[in-house]
């Protein structure tokens, strides 16, 4: 029995140490409840684990709140520079302008319309199906992903999903806990120099690694889809745009692909979640002819 308790505690501590996020808090609580039910640990022990888990998560969340919009912006700029180093830009001014108009209109109806510099969108000249967003409001979308969009409403859905990641501060949550502690110390003591640069360097590394290699957790992806649905509805786009683009991606994505296929849950899972959440049946996007003409003019031949 003691051995089991030891391993359980070890697992829980490891999970908290490496992830330190809301998802871990939920998982830890669930595992503890199950262990308590099966008699692996006593109710007192379970209560104590849950209490310390909640305490760690609270402190962690407070540390993440230390990031002001200005600091998120500076993290975002460097993450953007790393992304632009990996992918070439698609330089067409009118097409990028078209996407920025959609993005900035969506941001206006969001719960966080004002961020330090505002939201900016740039197309990446890559056939890979992917999109990225930095905490500073830089949104990147590949040509490959734009080719999965059949309407402006679908493009808006992709951008609204990325705005969702920014507003829910998913990127900041990718920064490792020990770095947040270090950051907190520099804020209090105003120590700058090498230590702060080291923390910044580490934070950029955590962020880009998560975006390019591992991806956000599934709950974060589903949460960003929820925001996307809300923004589409608020602005007046057809919310079916999200399901539409996910359906095309489901057909196009190869599970062994790098990029989006590797870092996102399967599109069908997301479609199921969206439809279940909204309680509606998918129907093809209704987009006025004038909107479709400008979509085709800008994205049709990309």
């Amino acid at each position: 029995m003691k051995r089991k308790t030891f391993f359980l505690c070890l697992f829980l501590s490891a999970a908290l140490l490496f992830c330190g996020c809301q998802a871990t808090l939920t998982t830890t609580t669930k595992v503890t409840t199950q262990a308590e039910k099966k008699g692996v640990i006593s109710p007192e022990k379970a209560k104590s684990i849950k209490k310390s888990t909640a305490k760690i998560a609270k402190a962690d969340s407070k540390r993440r709140e230390e990031f002001t919009p200005e600091q998120e912006y500076y993290i975002g700029r460097s993450v953007a520079a790393v992304i632009m180093n990996k992918y070439p830009s698609y330089t067409s001014q009118p097409v990028n302008e078209y996407l920025n108009l959609i993005g900035q209109a969506l941001a206006q109806v969001s719960d966080m319309p004002e961020i330090f510099l505002g939201y900016r969108v740039l197309i990446l000249n890559s056939d890979e199906i992917n999109a990225f967003a930095t905490p500073g409001g830089h949104i990147f979308i590949t040509k490959g992903l734009l080719r999965c969009c059949r309407t402006e409403d679908a493009v808006a859905a992709v951008l609204a999903h990325e705005i969702g990641h920014i507003q829910l501060k998913h990127g900041i949550r990718a920064i490792k806990q020990e770095r947040l502690i270090e950051f907190g110390k520099t804020i209090v003591t105003e120590i700058g120099g090498d230590k702060l640069l080291e923390t910044f360097d580490g934070a950029i590394g955590d962020f880009t690694n998560m975006m390019i290699n591992t991806g956000y957790s599934r709950p974060f992806e589903y949460a960003a889809d929820d925001v996307a649905q809300t923004l589409l509805r608020r602005l007046g786009y057809d919310p079916n745009g999200l399901v539409e683009v996910l359906m095309v991606m489901e057909k196009k994505l190869n599970p062994e692909d790098t990029g989006f296929g590797k870092t996102h849950p399967p599109p069908q899972d997301r479609i199921d979640k969206v439809l279940k959440k909204t309680g509606i049946k998918y129907s093809p996007v209704l987009t006025p002819q004038v909107r479709q003409i400008r979509f085709m003019k800008n994205i049709g031949n990309i």
């Binding site: 200005e70 700029r77 953007a80 790393v82 209109a105 004002e114 105003e190 640069l197 007046g236 006025p288």
Partner: protein, 164 residues
């Protein structure tokens, strides 16, 4: 008079006198974005009447959901709450640069945490990164509110959600 009555009376008097005191307390907020726009109405459709700088301290006059009526230097207007913070933002030198919306390299901000200085140090260690491309991305796609509204109108996109 019993102690209970005296206590009740004291509590009532305290409430009566403290109310005006609390309501008279001024509440201040700071602009936490590079350029905060003051609008004539609590909506993104409202005309921009003034642009405030990062760190400007404004007084809260009225609260209407996500929109706050604020005042500074005898100017009044509505600002979205995402542009404001209850924290005080201490600016060092270079405030004028912030006001003109100069590029990040020219900003000299609070000196705490991640800022232009840290970015410059990071940049010098990562010379392969092209920050000029990031500057371009940030600079080019800035639209006036009318342009966004015209784009929505042209695409027959009619907002149905909360106030903008």
């Amino acid at each position: 008079m019993s102690w209970i009555r005296i206590s009740l009376l004291a509590a009532l008097l305290l409430c009566a006198f403290s109310q005006p005191l609390f309501s008279a307390t001024k509440e201040f907020l700071s602009v936490q974005v590079r350029q905060g726009q003051l609008r004539s109405t609590p909506s993104f459709l409202g005309k921009v009447t003034a642009t405030l700088a990062y760190g400007d301290k404004v007084e809260l006059i009225e609260d209407k959901g996500a929109w706050k009526m604020v005042t500074i230097r005898k100017i009044k207007g509505w600002m979205h709450m995402s542009a404001l913070t209850t924290k005080t933002i201490a600016l060092q030198a270079g405030k004028a640069n912030v006001k003109t919306g100069a590029t990040s390299g020219e900003l000299a901000l609070a000196g705490k945490g991640f800022n232009a200085k840290v970015e410059a140090e990071f940049k010098s260690k990562n010379k392969h990164l092209d920050y000029a491309a990031v500057d371009r991305m940030e600079r080019i796609f800035t639209f006036k509110p009318d342009r966004v509204q015209a784009f929505l109108k042209q695409g027959k996109i009619s907002p149905e959600g909360p106030e903008r």
